[in-house]
């Protein structure tokens, strides 16, 4: 039993944080909102150079072949920076799905081009109502008849844009015909893709929540009323302390869920749903504390907070909303002979691979 990340994993997260602190600043985000695609192709290329697109690509196709435990800290950092590009969904949900399909030219080409940063991918699945970033994607992965894994490009795909409250989310209602079959009868692969989608949304939510707290601490330290920084008032302190409690107790839940997915543990679904709920609730708590402590400024575009809040609100509903996940945890917890008890928290890992 050793519930710690390795130094390599922590160092990798640090390098990504450093990169994003330089290349994905609030100023970059404000400028990007005004652009046509709302996506930064140069930044995408640099993310690929850092190895982030190749995270789950098998090593023989030019990737790193790493695991969910390695990536969870990266997803958290992407959330904290409110990274507009859907790196997390593409690299850590779509790619592992493709990687689990049988080797074939179309699949291998897609994976190696993705690892190089020359191809972007989008996903259409019953677990998601809308497709993200169809406008910059070169290919769409979707579920065909019999839960097959399909790949479609070009004229097979028609997309109509939907407007999200998050100005940096690009959503599409997509219909698709034709396409190429990569794997037949793949319900288990789609189920695993859904778990990854929910898990890494949770990780991003945890990062978003922490950053909303940090932004608000900075604001409350500067803004003065009654001759003092508002952050010196207990009413403000207690809002932020409560939000910090929520985030600090969501993080370990998210990390355990990453471990459960990486090891194919029997309680994976409950672990992921718990993570999505805990991180979503922490992000909601943090967003409410943040807007309240920013006062009227928090209700405007004048400060950057809104970009983080809106991303959080969007992700709370994506990859299974709170009620969906609550029902899954309830089915696990309240069922007959549920494996719950003080000695059973890690029991699913005793025989896990």
């Amino acid at each position: 039993m050793d519930f710690r990340f390795s130094q390599d994993q922590l160092d990798f997260q640090d390098s990504v944080k450093t990169f994003l602190a330089g290349e994905c600043t609030p100023e970059h985000l404000r400028k990007l909102v005004e652009t046509e695609t709302r996506r930064d192709a140069e930044r995408w290329q640099k993310l690929a150079e850092l190895g982030l697109t190749g995270f789950f690509v098998p090593e023989d196709l030019g990737g790193l072949g790493l695991s969910e435990v390695d990536f969870v800290l990266i997803a958290e950092a992407c959330g904290a920076a409110a990274l507009p590009e859907t790196l997390v969904e593409q690299a850590a949900v779509i790619v592992p799905l493709l990687a689990a399909c049988p080797a074939a030219k179309a699949r291998d080409d897609a994976l190696s081009s993705f690892a190089e940063g020359t191809l972007q991918l989008a996903i259409k699945t019953p677990g998601l109502h809308y497709v993200s970033d169809m406008h910059t994607a070169g290919a769409l992965v979707f579920a065909g008849d019999n839960s097959s894994v399909m790949l479609a490009q070009g004229a097979d795909v028609s997309a109509s844009a939907q407007t999200s409250i998050d100005p940096l989310r690009c959503l599409f209602d997509v219909s698709v015909k034709g396409g190429q079959k990569l794997a037949d009868d793949s319900a288990a692969l789609w189920a695993r893709a859904f778990e990854r989608g929910a898990l890494f949304s949770a990780a991003q939510l945890s990062g978003l929540a922490q950053n909303m707290i940090d932004m608000t601490v900075a604001y409350a330290g500067q803004r003065t009323q009654f001759g003092k920084p508002i952050g010196s008032f207990q009413a403000v302190k207690h809002h932020l302390a409560s939000a910090q409690v929520a985030v600090s107790f969501a993080q370990p839940v998210v990390y355990r869920a990453a471990y459960a997915v990486a090891h194919g543990a029997a309680d994976m679904s409950a672990a992921v749903s718990h993570a999505k709920i805990a991180a979503g609730d922490a992000a909601m708590t943090a967003s409410k504390a943040a807007i309240q402590c920013h006062g009227a400024m928090g209700y405007t575009f004048e400060v950057d907070l809104h970009l983080w809040m809106k991303r959080a609100w969007a992700l709370i509903g994506a990859w299974g909303d709170r009620d969906y996940h609550m029902k899954r945890v309830a089915d696990f917890t309240l069922g007959a002979n549920a494996p719950i008890g003080a000695d059973l928290t890690f029991s699913a890992f005793d025989n896990a691979g």
């Binding site: 050793d2 710690r4 330290g221 409690v245 990390y255 805990a278 609550m326 917890t333 890992f349």
Partner: protein, 387 residues
């Protein structure tokens, strides 16, 4: 290293050993309340039984009657302890508060005098921190311990002193420099409660029992060798004690996971009459108890690897105390018209005395530093907000 959330063979063997021992030794019938003389002595006997199996202080070094268990092993022990439904520890103040402080600050003579008796349950310790004018503001302590030859002479009053009604000793902070202010001039002194001049007045709590008490000191003479640490350096010694208390070991996750498990059972037995909202609160309770467990395992892993615990202890205190209250509130709701029945009533005992737990859980956000103080600590020392 890489993250590994499976237990090692050695850890599994420890679990099996604890489980076997508990199943052979945990009393079949619940003990009387430790807030009665009879129950207190029953609980002391249980400490002696634990000690005979070297289970009373598992984290203490072997030469002191412990097992030198690391924090992960301690968590496993606690999981099995609560799983077995073993009695509440009357010696909590000794094991987790004074014991580690003695090991850090005590002289060899003090360690020899106090630790083995503490481990054996021969001495049960009470806390003596708060005073009528010094609650959250502990630096306002006024009770004096003035040096007179080779003794200290103590005058004043302590209050909310847990276990004091029946305990053998108390430990706490006293003002040894009568002209000092605030954190300076305080000393950490160990006082036998049988010393002439001490009057202990038990205070009835919400449930009518007397878990804590006032202690009046009237020219109480205590040998100077009962000073722990430096004279005037008591605040630093106490903060280390308080750190242990608020930190990892005051409330092990197993306690709350066991409550959550019982809550799920209570819900399942009443499923037909309660609302869906109640079901969701039950699931939330289970999730939060799990989160507390996971967070504790992360902290324990970090500490074993050489890390330390600081301000995050305040996060723990808030989380478990609010969780405990929420769980009992939910249980009271499910109990409905039965909820008000005292534990003397058979049906209340049969249901697991949720009322007693509810009343106790209300104290959680207050003792060991109120949650308001903890939120200030988080805001100022963790987040860096201005004072």
């Amino acid at each position: 290293m890489t993250m590994d959330l499976a237990f090692t063979d050695q850890e599994r063997e420890l679990r099996a050993e604890v489980r076997a021992w508990m199943s052979a030794h945990v009393p079949q019938m619940p003990l009387a309340s430790m807030d009665t003389r009879e129950g207190f002595e029953q609980h002391r006997d249980w400490e002696r039984t634990l000690h005979s199996g070297r289970w009373s202080m598992v984290t203490w070094p072997e030469q002191l009657g412990g097992r030198g268990a690391n924090l992960i092993e301690w968590l496993i022990f606690e999981e099995e302890y609560y799983r077995a439904g073993a009695p509440t520890r009357v010696n909590q103040n000794g094991i987790f508060l004074l014991g580690p402080t003695l090991m850090e600050y005590g002289t060899e003579a003090q360690k020899e005098k106090f630790l083995p008796r503490m481990a054996a349950g021969d001495d049960i310790w009470a806390q003596a921190w708060s005073e009528p004018g010094a609650g959250s503001d502990m630096a306002a302590i006024r009770t004096k311990a003035i040096r007179d030859g080779d003794h200290y002479v103590i005058n004043g009053q302590k209050t909310w002193s847990t276990r004091a009604a029946f305990a053998d000793w108390c430990f706490g902070l006293f003002r040894t420099d009568p002209d000092s202010q605030r954190h300076k001039g305080l000393s950490f002194v160990l006082v036998p409660l049988s010393t002439p001049g001490i009057t202990v007045r038990p205070i009835p709590q919400l449930d009518g029992r007397t878990g804590f008490a006032e202690i009046f000191f009237d020219d109480v003479r205590v040998p100077a060798e009962n000073l722990l640490g430096e004279e005037g350096g008591g605040w630093g010694v106490a903060m280390s004690t308080a750190g242990f208390e608020r930190g990892l070991m005051l409330r092990s996750p197993a306690r709350f996971q066991e409550t959550a498990r019982r809550l799920v059972a209570l819900y399942n037995a009443n499923k037909d009459k309660v609302s869906a909202a109640t079901g969701e609160r039950v699931v939330q309770a289970w999730m939060d108890a799990e989160a507390y467990c996971l967070n504790t395992y992360m902290t324990a892993s970090r500490l074993i690897a050489g890390g330390s615990i600081g301000v995050e202890a305040s996060l723990n205190k808030i989380f478990w105390s609010e969780l405990d209250l929420a769980m009992h509130e939910t249980a009271m709701g499910i109990m409905g018209a039965e909820a008000e029945l005292m534990r003397e009533t058979q049906s209340a005992r049969a249901a697991g005395d949720w009322l007693g737990g509810f009343l106790f859980s209300l104290a959680g956000p207050i003792y060991a530093g109120t949650n308001e103080i903890q939120r200030n600590v988080i805001a100022e020392r963790m987040l860096g907000l201005p004072r």
